[in-house]
């Protein structure tokens, strides 16, 4: 299909503000009379609050109020409370908040609050809690029993606390790459005949692996600001959606959703950590209500590493069986998740990654989410899939080598296609063209020749080549679209999608312009604040925006086109289907002079009223969209619809990466020399935006491979990495000076514009390509990320590694 707008670059409307400094983020808003709040946080990793005495603090000049857990809706463990009381579960956990006329007064007042604590035992490594006699993160247990499924990965995990312990002998087996036996698990799934599939295997490999928990490092911290007017809360926050956070925020504040106005024009990074509300929002909103003044709660960089959510770590074991023809027959995986105090884990999505990109005939997952007294955990870019991608790539390389098979060819043999069954349900996907992606990447990288050539060695530096696959479920359905044509001829494309800088809020709006066959210059995107009347949208996460919201824009614009034709038929006679649109006019197909402009049709829509101008609307749209339409009624021609388009199973976002790394055996440093990333993401919607996601995801992958991790002092559970240069994200010097990207560009049949998202798999394929390349260079796989310099130096010098086998959250 030839498109007017889809597949073409454009200038998203928010870019100019970013380069001029006009773009406003939370801390840039300072309404008259604004006061500030600061947090008192826990010095203990585990315990409870016996008593709090804030009387001295409250007597200080300039102090306006204090909040403790008693002032907020109750929460029960293992939920992440706004303010902790009965269960303190990590150092840096908020316990009380002070509001004052300045930051410095609030800080001084915090020092005047007297708290009696009761200490409890704590744990930072899941395996140390899982072993018989080991400490537990909560007094009543160490394991989450999850009661909800996480189809929406941004949803809060629900469940209770239970206790599971393994004998020391079985923990030792896991640490040493063997299968623990006769032990209890909390959860899992299975498909196919596992033992029969292993029996068919020519090569069977079983190994342990460990992946670190990682902070998000969003450059904009999770600060918030709020004020109340006439019973309505105006809330400024850094979020991944305007509309998806309204209901949870209303819950947090104990008010009706229509009384929340969420303002989030720009978000300085989210990466999963701002997909829903963050607990500290309740403090800002409640203080603002109590004091009847605007209140800002600034979260510092350091606080981000304590109370900001991070990616859960994994300690696991995987047994892989591969047939002589290279097809993967069976995969058996055990995952012990480091769930922090919330139990958040991505075990199922980790295993699903394997089921999609290596398409095994049979598979089993057994897992336990273990609580630790470390940072709360949440979704982070490609939760589960990306860390599993890093761990499994060198293991699959080993299998290919044992079969004497080229590593890229091995991936191609197992690559998912449009009819591949996936997940534990072995259900369908919308489409996949992974073999094509592998071919494009191989050609661009020159894989076959480079893989066949001997590896370069230059003094202490050795080079290696790697290949990695990335996957994430990348598309939803059932949200609403809303467009409006006003009598001045302007076309307003309403979007409740967040603005993380992927520009997909704008790329997807162009689907509506495509259907309306209008000039982009005639359109304006309406977004940033829910009082702009925004439709119910997904959070901008899960790589879903491109697929989900090209669909909502498409159906809303189709509704508008249908109304344009009906209005023209009323005006000029005949049936609506005798009319067509072009050049922002609706006219009779057989007599093009019988018609009028969109502007005139919009004026007529207002005159006609009813559904034409939003006085009536479809019954299946979400209450958020209903309120938006009510707010717009009578102002133009309103196109509004729920996305009821067909969708077959999962919409997969898929990536392949190839990388060359140089590893210095003397310093232990590794450097990515060359990098290619190719996406299988359907039709390219926005070429520049796609390149940004492929390359940006790759930078994340390099960080996961080399340096990013949570680290705790095991004696006190004190976080050691509390700065950008400690849990270090890559700098511009850590990435190749030029990066290559591309895409298959074959349309997905379940998206009218043909697109699927790819923001998350771009990290997974990159980290896997690097771990695969390091293993290739060394002839040894650590089965651990990050691969830090000390590990490489120890390996090169044939010394034992510093940390115990499978240890996590430690140096």
């Amino acid at each position: 299909m030839t498109f007017m707008h889809i597949g073409k670059d454009f200038t998203p409307p928010d870019v100019e503000g970013k380069v001029t400094g006009d773009a406003k983020y939370v801390e840039d808003f300072a309404p008259e009379g604004m006061v500030t709040a600061r947090l008192l946080t826990s010095p203990l990793a585990s315990g409870r609050v016996v008593s709090i005495d804030a009387s001295e603090a409250l007597r200080m000049d300039g102090v306006l109020g204090v909040l403790t857990a008693d002032d907020l809706p109750p929460s029960s463990a293992p939920d992440d409370p706004v303010l902790a009381s009965d269960d303190i579960t990590y150092i840096g956990q908020p316990i009380a908040a002070i509001a004052a006329i300045s930051d410095s007064i609030a800080e001084s007042a915090i020092d005047k609050i007297r708290i009696d604590y009761e200490r409890r035992g704590f744990v930072t490594d899941p395996l140390e809690s899982l072993v018989e006699g080991g400490p537990d993160a909560y007094p009543n247990g160490n394991v989450l029993v999850q009661t909800n499924s996480l189809e929406d990965e941004n949803a809060t995990i629900r469940g209770g606390i239970s206790k599971i312990k393994w004998p020391p002998s079985e923990i030792e087996k896991l640490r040493n790459g063997e299968e623990p036996e006769n032990v209890e698990f909390a959860d899992g799934w299975e498909y196919g005949d596992l033992s029969a599939s292993f029996a068919e295997s020519e090569v069977i490999i079983q190994e342990s692996f460990v992946t670190a928990g990682t902070p998000h490092h969003c450059l904009e911290p999770r600060s918030s600001m709020a004020y109340w007017q006439n019973g309505k809360c105006f809330f400024y926050a850094s979020t991944q959606s305007q509309s998806a956070v309204v209901e949870p925020l209303a819950d947090l504040l104990g008010i009706e959703p229509e009384n929340v106005c969420m303002i989030s024009e720009n978000t300085g990074g989210g990466f999963g950590s701002k997909g829903r509300v963050y607990p500290t929002m309740a403090i800002t909103g409640r203080f603002a209500q109590l004091l009847n003044r605007p209140v800002q709660l600034r979260i510092t960089r350091e606080e981000e590493y304590y109370l900001g959510v991070g990616r859960p770590g994994m300690q696991g074991w995987v047994k892989t069986g591969v047939r002589a023809d290279g097809t993967v027959a069976a995969v058996d995986v055990i995952i012990i998740s480091d769930g922090g105090p919330t139990g958040r884990n991505s075990a199922s999505s980790s295993a699903q990654h394997i089921s999609v990109v290596y398409t095994p005939t049979a598979m089993r997952l057994r897992n336990i989410p273990v609580f630790t007294n470390t940072a709360p955990r949440g979704a982070q870019r490609g939760p589960g899939q990306n860390e599993m991608s890093a761990a499994i790539a060198p293991i699959m390389d080993k299998a290919a080598r044992q079969l004497g098979m080229d590593r890229a060819h091995f991936r191609r043999v197992n690559a998912p296609h449009s009819e591949s069954p996936v997940y534990e349900s072995q259900g369908p996907i919308t489409s996949a063209f992974m073999a094509e992606a592998i071919d494009i990447a191989s050609n661009m990288f020159g894989w076959t020749e480079r893989e066949a050539a001997p590896r370069q060695r230059n003094g202490s530096k050795v080079r290696g080549l790697g290949i990695g696959l990335g996957y994430h479920s990348a598309g939803g359905s059932g949200y609403d679209g809303l467009v409006r044509i006003t009598p001045d001829g302007r076309i307003h494309l309403h979007s409740g999608v967040g603005n993380l800088g992927t520009y997909s809020y704008a790329g997807t709006a162009r689907a509506a312009a495509e259907v309306l066959k209008c000039r982009w210059e005639s359109c304006e995107i309406v977004r940033g604040s829910t009082d702009q009347h925004l439709p119910h949208a997904s959070t901008q996460g899960g790589s879903n925006t491109i697929f989900t919201h090209t669909r909502t824009n498409w159906v809303a614009a189709e509704d508008a086109v249908s109304k344009l034709k009906q209005i023209a038929a009323i005006e000029f006679g005949g049936d609506a289907d005798e009319y067509e649109i072009n050049n922002e006019r609706v006219f009779k197909t057989t007599a093009p002079n019988q018609g009028f402009s969109y502007a005139e049709a919009a004026a007529k829509a207002i005159e006609l009223g009813g559904a034409f101008s939003g006085q009536e609307y479809p019954s299946d749209i979400h209450p958020i969209t209903q309120r938006a339409v009510q707010g717009l009624a009578g102002t133009g021609l309103v196109g509004v619809a729920k996305d009821n388009l067909p969708k077959r199973g999962i919409a997969p976002g898929l990536m392949i990466s190839m990388a060359e790394v140089e590893v210095d055996l003397e310093t232990g440093k590794h450097e990515v020399i060359d990098y290619v990333g190719i996406a299988d993401c359907g039709t390219i919607i926005h070429p520049q935006g796609l390149a940004q996601q492929i390359n940006g995801g790759a930078v994340w992958g390099f960080g996961m491979a080399s340096s990013e991790r949570h680290v705790y002092d095991p004696q006190n559970a004190l976080p050691a990495n509390t700065g950008l240069y400690q849990a270090k994200l890559p700098t511009i010097m850590d990435v190749p000076i030029e990066m290559k990207s591309g895409a298959v560009d074959i349309a997905d049949p379940y998206n009218p514009a043909g697109g699927r998202g790819v923001g998350e798999p771009s990290q997974g394929s990159a980290v896997a390509a690097v771990t695969s390349a390091i293993a290739d260079a060394l002839g040894h796989s650590f089965n651990r990320v990050p691969v830090t310099p000390d590990m490489i130096v120890n390996f090169a010098n044939k010394k034992d590694q510093e940390s115990a086998l499978l240890a996590i959250n430690t140096f």
Binding site: D14, V19, C218, L500, G501, M733
Partner: protein, 195 residues
Amino acid sequence: MNSKLSRRRFIKGVIYSSAAAASGASYYLATAQTNSNAIVERLLSLTVNGRTRLVDVAPSETLAFTLRNKLGLTGLKVACNRGECGACTILLEDVANYSCSILTHTVKRRSITTVEGLKTADGRLSAVQQGFIEELAPQCGFCTPGQVMAATALLRTNPNPTRTEAREALAGNLCRCGAYDHYLNGVMRAAELLS
């Protein structure tokens, strides 16, 4: 970053101002009305974006705080407040500096440029701003004002940099979105626009 801005110089500045500043705490100290015994000039004349403005500045106040909170120049961002990320980068004369790591009292005779001061007199975007837009360099945008200032400093001294030189010039500016390749494209595009 400016090699002249050493940690020692920052600490020296703090001592001269008779106020202790811990790395993270300096932001809060900035607002404190403390130290009434010290004889320190409070009303400073600052030259920002070509205009001279009188500002009441506490001795321990960082330039980032003064610019954002006293002069309303919120383009620069405070992302780490301890000289790690570069989101607060401004120019002193033509040299890029982290404004979170400079005490305002130490720059009262210097010419300060923030991202708001880059547009030409007739309101056109600067070459760096234009180049960044054409190459869609920013993602979330939070580090972008700092990247713009670092690139501007580079092109003022080296209007025709190699990609390697541009990379080194941006090495003090972190981008969590990983838009590094695109920022480099933006700098090279800006150099073309200037030539």
